[in-house]
């Protein structure tokens, strides 16, 4: 009765049902992600200009792949602040960062450079916790969304207490609803600046070192905050696309399964007909 290598009618029906169920979930997730992305995009648009005051005295952001190629230019001790997401099912946003880190961090370690990781987001723990555990100094996860400046300020305080010659904030920059790029923004603590920094500026109040320390903390908070906004928007856009693809795949799968189901049903009916007819003709004979 059952054709070789083919599932039974009943099995196919069960698979169709479960695929349709999953399809419903992915479609809903896509719509939820689309609406959340709109909110995150608005927050990002409002928050991006806030980064501008920091950009004036820090090197411009670089793509993570370019950063990973020029490791020899890094100072002796480095703190990598990696902004990942708390939730999964959002395409490659986290794995793309983790993949680069898994190569880069051991490479830096081999060159006898200090590397410390400061991870924001639970998925960073999931992807990097095991392979890079020895380098991780702090993980912050499940702080709730949307991100606010108080959180960024609290994290910045922790970051500034870790001694390093440079702080590299690694995050996914939101470019459009279908594109994001892994980006690195580097900040140098006042202690690591050589010579007389900001020599052309006057300082108010004139306790320059204190002002510089405070300014550095504010700059870290600002950069982390805008990076988190970028990352949140990239997460939702990536999730939207991932769920869109999953829904499409699901539909294709259902189509294929229904063809299989119909074929199995037809062959059963044909077999039954043959049985009846041959039975009847046997009686007649």
């Amino acid at each position: 009765m059952v054709a070789r290598g083919m599932a039974s009618e009943k099995e196919i029906a069960a698979r169709m049902k479960s695929t349709a169920g999953i399809n419903k979930i992915t479609k809903t997730m896509k719509m939820v992600a689309a609406s959340k992305m709109r909110g995150d995009e608005d927050r990002l648009k409002a928050g991006r200009p806030f980064q501008k005051w920091v950009d004036g005295f820090t090197p411009p952001p670089v793509l993570l792949e370019d950063f990973a190629k020029s490791l020899d230019k890094l100072p002796q001790s480095n703190l990598l602040v990696i902004i990942t997401t708390d939730r999964g099912l959002c395409g490659g946003v986290n794995s793309s960062l983790a993949r680069v880190m898994k190569h880069m961090v051991p490479a830096l370690d081999k060159e006898k450079k200090d590397v410390q990781l400061f991870i924001v987001g639970d998925k960073g723990r999931a992807t990097m916790g095991r392979p890079l555990g020895e380098f991780i100094t702090q993980i912050n996860s499940d702080s709730g969304t949307p991100y606010n400046f108080s959180l960024a300020a609290a994290l910045a305080q922790d970051v500034t207490q870790i001694k390093a010659d440079a702080v590299h904030v690694v995050f996914n920059r939101f470019r459009s609803a279908i594109a994001y790029e892994a980006t690195v923004k580097t900040l140098y603590p006042p202690a690591a600046l050589t010579g007389e920094p900001y020599v052309e500026y006057e300082f108010e109040p004139d306790t320059k070192t204190e002002v510089l320390d405070d300014m550095y903390e504010m700059a870290i908070a600002t950069t982390m905050f805008t990076s988190m906004l970028e990352s949140a928007a990239a997460e939702q856009s990536s999730r939207m696309n991932a769920m869109e693809n999953a829904s499409k795949n699901g539909e294709d799968l259902i189509k294929e399964l229904s063809i299989q189901y119909n074929r199995a049903r037809q062959s059963r009916i044909t077999t039954e007909l043959v049985e009846i007819i041959s039975g009847a003709s046997a009686l007649e004979g």
Binding site: G56, F149, F203, E204, P205
Partner: protein, 174 residues
């Protein structure tokens, strides 16, 4: 930073939602050479109040005292205290006043001034009657907190902010 966070909490509790109204200001074209104007960037984490906006002058509440900035001001980096930022859009006009939390102001050599603060509200949007209540509550917290504790410092910040707010609005505190 603690100053900034203190006022942030205060602002959140106060619930002044001016940022949405302020965000409507569209970015004007940057033109540093436009007459006697300086270019102002005034932004918060949640909104950008002015972006590349030519203004006549701006008074900034520095930690060491208020100071004014006009075109061709010498470069200065200032840490801000909770106080009033006054923006004079055109010479002779009454200034637009914002009450801001702590933050930073950077005046660059090319007559561009960046002001980055954690929270800001238009002075006229602040409820005058709420200020003494905030002050009284902050004083209560301050007196209740143990000497040298984190709560004491936070309450002290709240007291100072409330005082500064009262000063800006001309409210008498008891």
């Amino acid at each position: 930073m603690l100053v900034a966070r203190g006022i942030f909490q205060l602002a959140a509790r106060r619930g002044v939602h001016t940022t949405r109204i302020l965000a409507s200001t569209a970015p004007a074209a940057a033109d540093a050479s436009s007459g006697d104007n300086l270019i102002l960037n005034f932004s918060l984490p949640a909104a950008s109040i002015y972006r590349n906006k030519p203004v006549a002058s701006v008074v900034i509440p520095g930690l060491a005292g208020e100071y004014g900035v006009t075109k061709n001001h010498s470069p200065v980096i200032a840490e801000l205290k909770a106080g009033v930022v006054q923006i004079v859009h055109e010479t002779g006009q009454a200034p637009e006043k914002f009450f801001v939390s702590g933050g930073f102001a950077l005046t660059h050599a090319n007559s561009v001034t960046d002001i980055a603060v954690v929270e800001a509200a238009k002075l006229e949007d602040i409820d005058v009657e709420e200020v003494p209540k905030i002050y009284a509550e902050a004083m209560k917290d301050y007196n209740a907190a143990a000497e040298g504790s984190k709560e004491k410092v936070e309450a002290q910040i709240e007291v100072e902010v409330a005082k500064s707010l009262a000063g800006a609005l001309g409210v008498a505190l008891t």
